[in-house]
């Protein structure tokens, strides 16, 4: 187990290095001068050259990368072109909001997907199955910005039950924080739930068709027992993988939901950075998202090894 963890961590580190190169290269390949954009109408040649020098943009690209990488390793991701704020602290400031929304959305997704997926697999071909499949089809097809706006219209504007947007830290006001979390988490969670429902269903169906399930029935184990210990226990393995991927996606990319609900998360920060050509901020945000992604995958693999005895032993 120890060697397995070590090997996977090493692999994750190599992947992260690759990501840093790609991120750096892509951003610098995109046309457009960030400093000129940042200065806008206040353009002044001397100030411009000073800023370029301060940002190190006059150095060769390889050297720029090396400097960025080495300081990134110490936790210093540079300074925003736009605001002058250190990127690291800007990201850390936004991280709790993103994480809260991501985990809440995943919870909503699982609360939908587990019962719907299991039920539709067990009752395959019956009305429940069709209902769950229709939900899933609609859930993946409906654009999230539209669904978010619809929720705001119904629950905030018309019924007035919940605030339409904004973020409050749960440390400041837990009740208000939850009230503000419900709509964005539902918006992102329904999509996640729709995707997960399909995976849960197909995964449970596959597990149900296994020969060992037939043997468990032939042993005279009651149906509930068979379902719990011989079907669901095996179905978890692929479900855990896809849940991890969904969480990673939520952590990195609910930009649209964050924009619709004025949610101060990493996604919106990254979007702003793209629009403003804020290189350090964008690099930092993408690196953070990629790290999160790799970290979750690492955790999934470790969990996988616990769920499936064949993985570490062989």
């Amino acid at each position: 187990m120890g060697r397995f963890v070590l090997r996977r961590t090493g692999q994750a580190a190599v992947a992260l290095l690759g990501v840093s190169i790609v991120v750096f290269a892509l951003i610098h390949l995109v046309p457009g001068d960030p400093v000129r954009t940042a200065l806008g109408t206040r353009f002044d040649q001397e100030l411009y050259e000073a800023l370029i020098a301060r940002a190190g943009l006059d150095q060769p690209l390889l050297l720029q990368y090396w400097l960025w990488l080495t300081s990134a390793l110490t936790g210093d991701l540079g300074v925003s072109f736009r605001t002058g704020q250190p990127v690291t602290s800007a990201l850390l400031q936004r991280l709790p909001a993103t994480m809260l929304l991501a985990f809440a959305a995943l919870l909503v997704g699982l609360l939908i997907a587990l019962p719907a997926g299991i039920l539709s697999a067990v009752k395959q071909g019956r009305p429940v199955d069709y209902a769950a499949s229709s939900f899933s089809q609609i859930g993946v097809s409906v654009p999230d910005f539209w669904f978010g706006l619809l929720l705001i219209l119904v629950f905030a504007r018309t019924l007035g039950w919940l605030p339409p947007s904004g973020y409050v830290s749960p440390l400041d006001d837990p009740v208000e924080a939850i009230r503000r979390l419900i709509l964005p988490a539902t918006t992102a969670g329904v999509v996640t739930g729709a995707i997960l429902t399909r995976f849960v269903r197909s995964s449970v169906l596959e597990a149900m068709g296994a020969e060992h399930v037939r043997l468990a029935r032939a042993k005279g184990m009651p149906e509930r027992y068979v379902l719990r210990h011989h079907v669901l226990r095996n179905a978890w393995i692929p479900v855990v993988t896809i849940t991890g991927l969904q969480l990673a996606t939520l952590l990195g990319g609910i930009v649209v939901v964050e924009v619709v609900f004025a949610w101060p998360g990493i996604g919106r920060l990254a979007l702003d950075a793209v629009v403003r050509r804020d290189y350090p901020m964008l690099q930092g945000a993408v690196l953070l998202i990629a790290t999160g992604f790799l970290l979750i995958n690492l955790l999934v693999d470790l969990l996988y090894a616990r769920l499936d005895p064949r993985i570490t032993a062989s």
Partner: protein, 365 residues
């Protein structure tokens, strides 16, 4: 409930042996988009204590389904099972799901075809072996584990106590099938159904598993139903053989009789198609031309007539032949019997050597 051998220690398959399972007019069909598919059409047999009954047929002949249906191990609906199947005094077909759960595993044990897939990869074999015993016999975990060790030793797993907490992937195919057999035996069933139990194994392992089941049977006195497509497997172990084609029994006889003097054209065809090692005279293997009929569109007359190379006429095409007793205990479903000379030739060509059951039993015991 105990299946300790009765007053007669040497198992006797004569008329006086106790009937453990009596199947009458068993019909199994499935509702499909193209109408009802009749997969098993009115089969009858008696299984005696200590007896080995082989059900032989090609894929789709209904041989597996006919036994799975006994305890409703097929999906119902779309499946439908009618007829009777008395296990002792209980008619299995009339039982509810709750009652069947107490029959499966406890009174009828199963061994399936592929040991690589019939064990759950995420549970230890100890767990898979003990769960049935704990559930049916109400054993404590410790007692169930003790018994599991005994069972593993009995099926020939070396150092069983140490292997109890191993996972299936840590065993070879043959060893896994031994574990599956141990599971099948764990609650002392009256009947063990071995559904193609050696088909997925290599030849040497196959022989070991066949011997193992025969030994255990002699030891425990249970009845065994062997389901196989391989007449070669059947020859060494079966007391009686039931040949199935398109959901029907086409021939049924004592194994010795069936192999020496097959009478149904299909059985003769099966024997003729057996490969024989070192036989250079026959040239190509004799295959039976054509395919079995689809269960949704069975021919009106004899199920085999479209493929029958022996004789096929107007009557075969329109009238379903009855199962006739052509000799004591020898039943054939055909209007025309294969004549003795031709039948003996097929039997001789197959070179199946079969000892009379009495002699073989002494060898095993």
């Amino acid at each position: 409930m105990s299946s300790a051998p009765g007053p007669t220690p040497d198992h006797d398959v004569g008329e006086d042996a106790e009937v453990v399972l009596s199947v009458r007019d068993l019909d199994v069909s499935f509702g499909t988009k193209r109408g009802r598919a009749s997969v098993v059409r009115g089969i009858d047999y008696d299984l005696h204590r200590g007896e080995t009954l082989a059900i032989v047929g090609e894929s789709g002949s209904g041989k597996s389904v006919s036994t799975l249906a006994l305890t409703k191990l097929i999906p119902i609906p779309p499946g439908r099972v009618t007829g009777t199947a008395h296990l002792g005094a209980t008619d299995l077909i009339a039982l509810s799901e709750e009652e069947l759960v107490r029959v499966r595993g406890q009174r009828i044990g199963f061994v399936f075809q592929d040991p690589m897939t019939s064990l759950n990869p995420v549970h230890t074999i100890g767990r898979q072996l003990t769960e049935g015993m704990r559930h049916h016999l109400g054993l404590s975990e410790a007692d169930a584990r003790d018994r599991a060790v005994e069972l593993l030793a009995k099926v020939g797993i070396p150092s069983p106590a140490r292997r109890l907490d191993d996972y299936p992937h840590q065993f070879s195919g043959g060893m896994r099938q031994r574990v599956v057999i141990a599971i099948g035996l764990s609650c002392d069933p009256e009947v063990l159904i071995a559904d193609e139990a050696t088909t997925a194994l290599d030849v040497t392992t196959q022989a070991q598993i066949i011997d193992l089941i025969a030994e255990l049977q002699a030891d425990l006195g249970m009845a065994v139903v062997w389901i196989t497509h391989d007449l070669g497997v059947v020859a060494g172990i079966a007391d009686r053989v039931l040949v199935m084609y398109a959901g029907e029994v086409v021939e049924q006889a004592e194994a010795v009789t069936l192999f020496a003097r097959p009478r149904h054209p299909y059985t003769v065809g099966l024997l003729a198609s057996l490969p024989v090692l070192g036989d250079t005279e026959r040239g190509d293997l004799a295959a039976i031309p054509g395919l079995p009929p689809a269960p949704t569109s069975l021919p009106p007359g004899c199920g085999f007539h479209p493929r029958c190379s022996f004789r096929s006429d107007e009557r075969c095409a329109t009238e379903r032949p009855p199962l006739r007793e052509v000799a004591p205990g020898h039943l054939v479903r055909s209007f025309y019997e294969v004549p003795e000379e031709q039948s003996r030739r097929a039997s001789a060509a197959a070179r199946i050597e079969i000892e009379p059951p009495d002699v073989r039993d002494e060898g095993v015991a």
